[in-house]
């Protein structure tokens, strides 16, 4: 090829290069042009700026109450899984997470329990966010502020009741996030007590809502004091709370079903606990209350049957006969705290104080005029007689409590307290024996803080798995 280097060509190439580079870089540096070209406005999102107002603060309060509902009956929660680990429910699902909890052999990667702990923590975070906003934009909303402290304290109490020693309480309202260090159950109960004290202090109104929240906080505070072993203080804390009182979580079809109904009765993934399991194969489970066989009016139970009324329906696992209760329906209110709780706390305080007759009087008063439970109005129950021994009296109290509070997130904590405060052992308190799905029950007495929490730089695992 002929050598054609010449001045014109050299000029041409230089010009092209210069203009090309200049053009591209001028475009690249046109910040305003590309910025506007890249603007997006996603209507799905609500930014912090959108909620910096009194209405915004109340919407955050509503969001916190939404989260609060998730830890009771708005979503699957420890109110069901605690009952699986204890004796209220037996597994009848196809989920290993449920099975291993029922078998008391929980793996540290149990995704369901991870979610429950996150849900409990979300109540804390959402309450704290709402409290910041309410104090800044709606400081006169004392009931709302009190309710947020109550929600936070209740979540902390539920954590301490259900989870192992070593519960981290992080704070997502700080920037950067403050990661919690593992706290013992007793420490977390103490934190819960402070939250509930704040609720009582902040909630100064006298209207019906304020009073309801006040009573709710008092009962929760009583339960926290039970957890701390301050049983006499617990009895005092709930004094004056009417037996008819109830702070409820509510449900409608459009905004979510009552999960305590949906999972066991509708989806047949949990079946009412009993001392004989395995359908007709009769595997004996020791220590448990035979919730199904007892036919107690406070817990009406039945085998689910076909539309024809014949043949027993099997559960979601396709194997286990479905044992359900009519205690709850699709939109039945769920008592978070109520006056029955208050009376039962007083009964325990009386027993602890050496007044078993007072305890018996309280229990029999409830049996004589049973408050409505969920969908049912129990018939009058015959009065109880007082057993001779302290141990038997304690059994009686906790059995009565188990029926009055069925699947309301108290049974697991009570079994743990029997070990912690009353000298029982795991082997004579929790379900033991051969599990009907094969193998034996394990040794778990609480829910673990699971593997996902290892992403917390201050957390390395449960301190221990003791009661």
């Amino acid at each position: 090829m002929k050598n054609i280097i010449n001045g014109r060509a050299r000029y041409r190439h230089a010009a092209v290069m210069a203009f090309a580079v200049a053009g591209v870089f001028s475009l690249a540096s046109c910040g305003s042009a590309t910025d506007s070209l890249l603007d997006v406005d996603d209507p799905d999102l609500i930014t912090q700026g959108n909620i910096n107002s009194a209405e915004g603060a109340l919407s955050l309060r509503n969001g916190a109450l939404d989260r609060f509902r998730d830890i009771t009956g708005g979503s699957e929660s420890t109110w069901l899984f605690g009952g699986l680990l204890a004796d209220e429910w037996s597994t009848s699902s196809t989920f290993v997470q449920n099975d291993e909890t029922d078998e008391r052999n929980i793996q540290l990667n149990n995704g369901s329990i991870t979610g429950f702990f996150r849900d409990l923590s979300r109540v804390r975070t959402a309450s704290n966010q709402a409290l910041q906003a309410l104090k800044e934009y709606a400081p006169t909303q004392s009931a709302a502020i009190g309710e947020m402290y109550f929600a936070r304290g209740f979540a902390e109490m539920q954590m301490a009741s259900d989870f192992c020693n070593g519960i981290p309480l992080s704070d997502a309202t700080t920037s950067p996030i403050t990661y919690g260090t593992p706290q013992t159950v007793q420490q977390v109960f103490t934190v819960a007590l402070a939250s509930l004290d704040s609720s009582l202090a902040a909630n100064t109104g006298t209207d019906a809502l304020s009073v309801s929240i006040l009573n709710a906080a008092k009962v929760a505070r009583g339960r926290v004091l039970l957890g701390l072993g301050r049983i006499a203080d617990a009895g005092a804390a709930v004094a004056g709370v009417p037996t008819s009182f109830s702070y409820d979580h509510t449900f409608q079809a459009g905004s979510g079903d009552n999960i305590i109904w949906a999972q066991p009765a509708s989806s047949r993934r949990y079946t009412i606990g009993d001392s004989l399991e395995g359908n007709a194969r009769n595997f004996l489970v020791k220590n448990v209350i035979p919730f199904f066989s007892s036919n107690d009016p406070r817990l009406p139970v039945r085998y689910t049957t076909q539309n024809s009324g014949k043949d027993t329906v099997k559960s979601q696992d396709g194997l286990t006969y479905s044992r359900t209760t009519t205690l709850y329906a699709r939109s039945t209110n769920l008592a978070v705290t109520n006056g029955i709780d208050a009376r039962l706390i007083e009964a325990e305080a009386a027993l602890k104080a050496g007044n078993p007759q007072t305890m018996l009087s309280i229990l029999n008063a409830l049996r004589a005029a049973p408050p409505k439970l969920g969908e049912i109005q129990p018939t009058v129950l015959p009065p109880l007689t007082l057993p001779a021994t302290m141990a038997a009296q304690l059994d009686l109290l906790f059995r009565e409590k188990a029926f009055w509070t069925f699947s309301r997130g108290q049974r697991l904590g009570d079994l743990r307290r029997l070990i912690r405060d009353y000298g029982r052992t795991e082997q004579n308190t929790f379900p033991v024996g051969e599990h009907y799905r094969g193998g034996n029950y394990g040794n778990d007495v609480n829910l673990p803080v699971t593997t996902d929490e290892m992403n917390n730089p201050n957390f390395t695992g449960c301190i221990d798995r003791k009661a």
Binding site: Y179, D311, L319, R330
Partner: protein, 1040 residues
């Protein structure tokens, strides 16, 4: 966050911004308006050296200029305004060897150039598509795979683009969904990203194509629709696969996983050519599904024989065996949910035009009915109860696609070419709920007991007939369907104002209107819970738009007789919009089919907007037309970047050396052509559209019996979020030898991804979102690819050819940025190990100590018979590392009959037999749990996961390697005389078959069974999934 509301395209704001960019580019292109030199003309005539017949569609180019074009039907092309002087004219065409001639152009004269080109045995594309336009393959420093789609669809069982890609390019792995119409997972050179998509992007005729995986508002529990599946393979001329960041740099942010470049067919000048084709065939399921076992026995103290004892209970004495029964609905002709599917396709294509205007028109209908079919016993049930059998109940999986295309190419003048592409696709498809769907078929058909007379369906009381909890008729009363109307339009402009300059502009819009439908009449469907059979209707209407502008200008310059340069500057703008409204109603009025008929109604809205603006500059040097260097950089901004991160720059370098062109290279040897190549470059993947933002979401909750709006803390956000950045070094060589009878390509690559986005698990105690996107990780992929094409024999009456392609990939997480390993139930992301490798406490052995033939676990080491390691260890990759595909062709009777097979090996990975896991753990019907004749291996894996405290899943991670006879085909081309009987120019008949069998040590049904293949997941999962079916198709092609 800015609150600017962007007006829709067509209003003033966008065009202003875009026009500003286009104008700037036009200035770049137009500024050097230099004085025209003296001109002449070259008239090229290309003929076949052997037959002397004219060669159409040969690409003619004048080296070092923008001048060039395609020859017409007569093999002629006239190039005008050619500068005077000496020029090299290059002629390339697929199927022929490259030819280069030197001509001397004088002012006002026409040079007649007669060129004869020789056919070669191995046909490879001589040009490839790059981000800066079409380039001679020799100039590109990367290995770019090209698939001759037009030829492949005529001779292979191809239903969709995935079938076109599968096993035809080294380093490209395809895993396909098993329902008709479902999409595929495409992975090129391994997995780059821990948390973002690893799917490549798609460019069709120069514009960005929507390729969303799992594209439906309603999941199936497994595989489902993909927007890639909308594209009709029959309309495609070729597919090029740009594999790594070193080649994809100029495609910008989002291209790090590779680019699939699709070129559709174009008109050819000449009289109208009609091509008609029709195919039809059957689809069958020839898989071996597991058998259900059941032990009948007596428990202690009982005299009644009851079902559902397991081996360990026999061993412990908790149960005494009476009998063992086996059953599976799959093998019961009356109960099987598997029937014979079918496939039909009819299409007509017209191509023609003249030197000024060429056209390609196409229309096609394709219908495929999957293998799932209502069993006979269900038909009788419906008939006896008077319940109508709806179309979706009878055949729950159907895909019906109509596709129309019109491509026009106009040579406006010698300087301006304009192409317009338009494609209308109408899809109507429905899928069955499968695999992981609660209402799906899988848990029922795999989960039943070892006998048929197993009672009745809960609540409704009809016979179970060996299914677990309900029968297929109930599952298939629920309809999950989709209707798609998709319009892809594009305009391609090539402007050559000067011989040294070419400017191209591609503008395109890919718009999809998608209607998803989920419906169940009241009183129908499975009794999952108390409300399911109250009926529901979900109706989702989504608009998906991908708008792209891609413009570039190139200037050629002959700096010296031995040095040519080409400078290219370009811009690109991509806008992805997704808008969806979903209305639902449940608790329907009897007979109602609308959301309004529901007692409980709900409506939601979802939007995703993402925009990218990029600029690039590229300099290419050609030294003596045999040594080529490319240096380039691209800069991008993207709407998903964090507010504290503004711009990313991706550099690129490549070199290509055609060693065999050098004077010192020995001539006359067996080597025809030898080229070395080297490339290095970077590209990225953008974060999710809202990953950078801290925000709340609206929710409704019920407070004190009142539904109340609320704000939920939804995402933590990350102001520093930036794209993942993957850098790659690639090197290799291409060798053509033995007179063009053999071609060998070898490539080594090494990719490193830094700033890898990790959806870091937020500790649950924080009480916020479950994850937060952060640029924390580093990942590496390295490996080898090779491709061999050979014409083994060509004796006229008999010819044989073979193509071998293979690849090896090593994947490793280099860093997780001081975050803990991500530990899942089966897979983990751990530094030093492959992404999402399988981890488990290993089963180290077993011993039947009491010689009862049954393995059991016992806490007492002296009695324990199954041994498990103390801690979890890495067990293997979850996707194949090694691939080898062999395509063998034999041609008989003077090439009238071609027989072809494709055999495929994949290995180096484990496959999760999650079907057997749940059968053992939950359904209690599996071999290792219940069958007294089960091997110790199978018993051990069950005992280890059910009874051992470790609950290890180790035994269910099973060898995933296989050798598969993926395709066979036989094509007979009729002689022109026979074809003329049908008034056709040519005619052929092809029999093809796909998925004919495999060899594997996998214990499940098929190691390619994967419920997540089409939902952009990197966790393959054989979970209660129907395995891949087999296709047998007969096809007729006629040319008029």
């Amino acid at each position: 966050m800015q609150r600017t509301v962007l007006p829709p395209l067509g209003s003033s704001a966008i065009p202003r911004s875009i026009l500003r960019a286009i104008c700037a580019l036009a200035i770049v292109a137009g500024v050097p308006s230099l004085v025209l030199a003296q001109r002449g003309t070259i008239a090229v005539h290309v003929t076949d050296k052997g037959s002397t017949a004219p060669v159409a569609q040969a690409q003619v180019s004048i080296v070092g200029t923008s001048l060039g074009g395609l020859t017409n039907q007569d093999g002629r092309l006239t190039l005008v305004n050619v500068p005077t002087g000496t020029h090299d004219v290059r002629i390339v065409r697929i199927g022929y060897g490259e030819q280069k001639s030197t001509v001397n152009v004088t002012t006002g004269q026409t040079v007649n150039l007669e060129v004869q080109i020789s056919s070669v045995a191995v046909t490879l594309s001589p040009v490839v598509s790059t981000a800066t336009g079409q380039q001679n393959k020799n100039e590109v420093g990367n290995a770019i795979s090209t698939i001759d789609a037009a030829k492949t669809v005529e001779t292979s069982p191809v239903s969709n683009i995935s079938d076109l890609l599968n096993s035809r390019a080294p380093g490209v792995q395809i895993a396909s969904g098993t329902q008709a119409g479902s999409g595929s997972r495409v992975r090129i050179r391994g997995i780059n990203s821990i948390s973002l998509s690893n799917e490549p992007i798609y460019v069709i005729d120069g514009i960005r194509m929507t390729s969303d995986a799992g594209s439906s508002a309603f999941g199936t529990g497994g595989n489902g629709a993909s927007r890639v599946g909308d594209i009709n393979p029959e309309e495609i001329e070729s597919i090029e696969i740009v594999k790594g960041p070193s080649a994809a740099t100029l495609y910008g942010t989002d291209a790090a996983n590779g680019v699939i470049v699709i070129t559709t067919k174009r008109g050819r000048s000449g009289a109208a050519r009609w091509n008609a084709y029709a195919e039809g065939g059957v689809i069958t399921d020839n898989n071996n599904y597991p058998t259900n076992y059941w032990i009948w026995g007596k428990t202690a103290g009982s005299t009644i024989s009851r079902p559902n004892c397991v081996l360990t209970q026999l061993s412990s004495g908790a149960c005494t065996r009476d009998s063992v029964t086996t059953y599976s609905p799959f093998y019961d002709p009356d109960a099987t949910p598997l029937g014979t599917g079918n496939r039909a396709q009819y299409g007509l294509q017209i191509s023609g035009g003249n030197d000024v205007l060429r056209y390609f028109l196409s229309g096609e209908n394709e219908k495929e009915t999957g293998v799932l079919e209502l069993p006979d016993f269900e038909r009788r049930r419906f008939d006896s109860t008077g319940v109508p059998i709806r179309a979706w109940t009878e055949r729950p999986n159907i895909s019906n696609r109509n596709s129309f295309r019109a491509n026009l190419n106009a040579a406006i003048n010698s300087k301006l070419d304009v192409g317009v592409t338009s494609n209308l696709v109408l899809v109507n498809q429905r899928y069955t709920l499968e695999s992981n769907a609660t209402a799906g078929l899988g848990s029922q058909v795999f989960g039943g007991p070892g006998y048929k007379d197993n009672g009745t369906v809960a609540v409704v009381g009809t016979p179970l007939t060996g299914y677990r909890a309900w029968t297929p008729g109930y599952t298939w009363q629920e309809k999950t369907g989709q209707q798609v109307t998709r319009i892809i339009t594009g305009m391609n402009v090539l402007y050559r104002p000067f011989t040294w300059n070419i400017t191209r502009l591609n503008i395109g819009n890919d718009y999809t209107s998608r209607i998803d439908d989920n419906f169940l009449y009241r009183g129908e469907g499975p009794p999952i819970n108390s409300t399911y059979r109250l009926g529901f209707k979900g109706n989702s209407r989504a608009g998906i738009r991908n708008f792209s502008i891609d413009a570039a200008t190139s200037a050629n310059y002959t700096a010296a007789s031995w040095l040519l340069t080409k400078t290219t500057a370009g811009i690109q703008y991509i806008q992805y919009d997704f808008n969806r409204n979903l209305a639902s109603g449940s608790d329907l009025v009897p007979g109602s089919q609308t959301t309004g008929g529901g007692a409980t109604k709900n409506a939601t809205e979802a939007s995703t907007y993402q925009k990218t603006a990029g600029f690039f500059l590229e300099e290419q040097l050609s030294i003596r037309d045999r040594l080529f260097f490319t240096l380039a950089a691209r800069s991008d901004q993207n709407s998903a970047f964090g507010t504290d991160f503004q711009r990313v720059i991706y550099p690129k370098f490549s070199a290509s050396w055609v060693l065999s062109e050098e004077d010192f290279f020995p001539r006359g040897t067996w080597v025809d052509n030898l080229r070395f190549r080297l490339a290095a470059g970077s590209s990225g993947v953008q974060p999710g559209a809202n990953d950078a933002l801290r925000y709340y979401a609206a929710s409704t909750t019920n407070i004190r019996n009142v539904d109340t709006p609320s704000a939920i803390y939804a995402a933590i956000g990350n102001d520093n979020l930036k794209p993942e950045r993957t850098s790659e070094l690639e090197t290799g060589f291409d060798l053509r030898a033995f007179g063009g009878r053999a071609n060998f390509e070898f490539t080594y690559y090494n990719k490193k991804t830094k700033d890898a986005l990790i959806l870091a698990i937020v500790p649950p105690s924080v009480g916020a979102s479950t994850t937060q996107a952060s640029n924390l990780g580093a990942v590496s992929n390295s490996g080898f690819e090779m491709l061999v094409n050979t014409q083994l024999l060509d004796r006229g009456w008999f010819a044989a050819d073979m193509t071998l392609s293979g690849s090896i990939n090593s994947n490793k997480v280099n860093s997780l940025g001081d975050t803990p390993a991500q530990i899942g139930t089966t897979t983990r992301i751990v530094e030093g190990y492959p992404i999402r490798g399988f981890w488990a406490q290993p089963i180290t052995g077993w011993e039947d100590k009491n010689s009862d033939g049954i393995l059991t676990y016992n806490a007492d080491p002296a009695l324990n018979e199954v041994f498990v390691g103390d801690s979890a260890i890495f067990r293997g990759y979850n996707q194949p590392r090694y691939t080898l595909a062999a395509t063998n062709g034999f041609e008989l009777f003077n090439k009238k009959l071609r027989l072809q097979s494709l055999v495929d090996y994949r290995g180096g990975s484990l496959h999760y037999n999650n079907t057997e896991r749940i059968r053992c753990v939950s359904r209690r019907n599996c071999n290792g749990l219940v069958n007294p004749n089960a091997s110790f291996v199978e018993q051990a894996m069950v005992v280890a996961t059910l009874n051992h405290p470790s609950k290890t899943l180790d035994g269910f991670f099973q060898p995933g390697a296989f050798v598969r006879l993926r395709e066979i085909s036989a094509t007979y081309s009729f002689s022109p005389r026979v074809a003329s009987l049908a008034r056709a120019r040519n005619a052929s008949i092809t029999f093809t078959a796909r998925n004919l069998g495999f060899i594997s040590n996998y214990r499940g049904t098929d190691p390619e069974t994967d419920r997540l293949a089409s939902v952009d997941s990197d966790a393959p999962d054989d979970f209660q999934t129907i395995a891949p079916p087999s296709y047998f198709v007969l096809r007729f092609n006629f040319g008029f």
